[in-house]
């Protein structure tokens, strides 16, 4: 299976993951996303944009995604576009250094 990495641009995951952080993408068929995971999905309103957010809650297969940035204007997430279906999650993002360990 080929390795897939994800690099983020923007500050919505700051301070945990600053602009430019790279993740190893664990495909969704190899792992069950859970609360607290950082995941890759497609923006519900912009199909050409893939976004990285953290799962805050899962309720009946509907997932609420948030950014880590404490500034309420710093992340477009489920506060703006609502919950997404769990099937829309493309994979779980693991920071490269954690993955290497």
């Amino acid at each position: 299976m080929s390795v897939v990495r994800v690099r983020i641009s923007g500050d919505s995951m700051w301070p945990t993951y600053p602009d430019g952080t790279e993740f190893e993408l664990l495909p969704i068929d190899s792992i069950q996303p859970s609360i607290g995971d950082v995941v890759l999905t497609t923006h519900p309103f912009h199909s050409d944009i893939q976004i990285v957010k953290r799962i805050q809650s899962i309720d009946d297969e509907m997932v609420f995604l948030v950014g880590d940035n404490p500034d309420p204007t710093a992340s477009e997430d489920s506060h703006n576009f609502g919950k997404i279906h769990c099937d829309a999650i493309l994979g779980v993002c693991v920071p490269r250094e954690e993955h290497d360990d």
Partner: protein, 158 residues
């Protein structure tokens, strides 16, 4: 794309996905130029008020003209001061993020003083405070474009 892992070994090739972690999907359009134009109007009206000479001939007509001109200058100064403050607050609360404080620890103080200068320019006819407002907007201009990674010269319309 080959890479080297933590052990100095070459990783297997990988596919790289560029993902967005922005505030919105593209980010909104911000530019301190809006505040700068309003600030220039404040300074211009302040100068005009200070330079307006009292009518040499005292008459109902001359006084009406004088007061009308002075009132218009004051009204525009009032409106543009408030507009300038609004534009600055949008930049402060929406564009600038906590991460920017690392590189610009003076950010909050600069905006706080700039907003207060907008208020001062409303209630006073002060050339000094109007200039200090422009200086503060220039400092914000410099911070803003530094964060955007672009060299944009400070220009004035007036």
């Amino acid at each position: 794309m080959p890479a080297t892992n933590a052990h100095g070994m070459e990783d297997e090739p990988y596919t790289l996905i560029e993902a967005s972690a922005h505030c919105d999907g593209p980010c909104g359009v911000y530019d301190p130029a809006s505040a700068r134009v309003a600030g220039e109007a404040v300074q211009s009206m302040t100068k005009k008020m200070l330079a307006l000479e009292y009518p040499q001939v005292f008459s109902s007509e001359s006084m009406a003209s004088y007061m009308n001109t002075m009132s218009r200058y004051a009204a525009i100064k009032e409106e543009e001061s408030q507009k300038c403050k609004s534009e600055l607050l949008i930049l402060w609360t929406d564009f600038f993020k906590p991460v920017h404080l690392d590189a610009h620890p003076e950010l909050h103080t600069t905006f706080w003083n700039a907003a207060k200068l907008c208020s001062a320019c409303k209630v006073e006819v002060s050339a000094q405070h109007a200039q200090e407002l422009m200086d503060a907007i220039e400092a914000i201009h410099t911070m803003f474009w530094s964060i955007k990674g672009r060299e944009v010269p400070w220009i004035r319309a007036s």
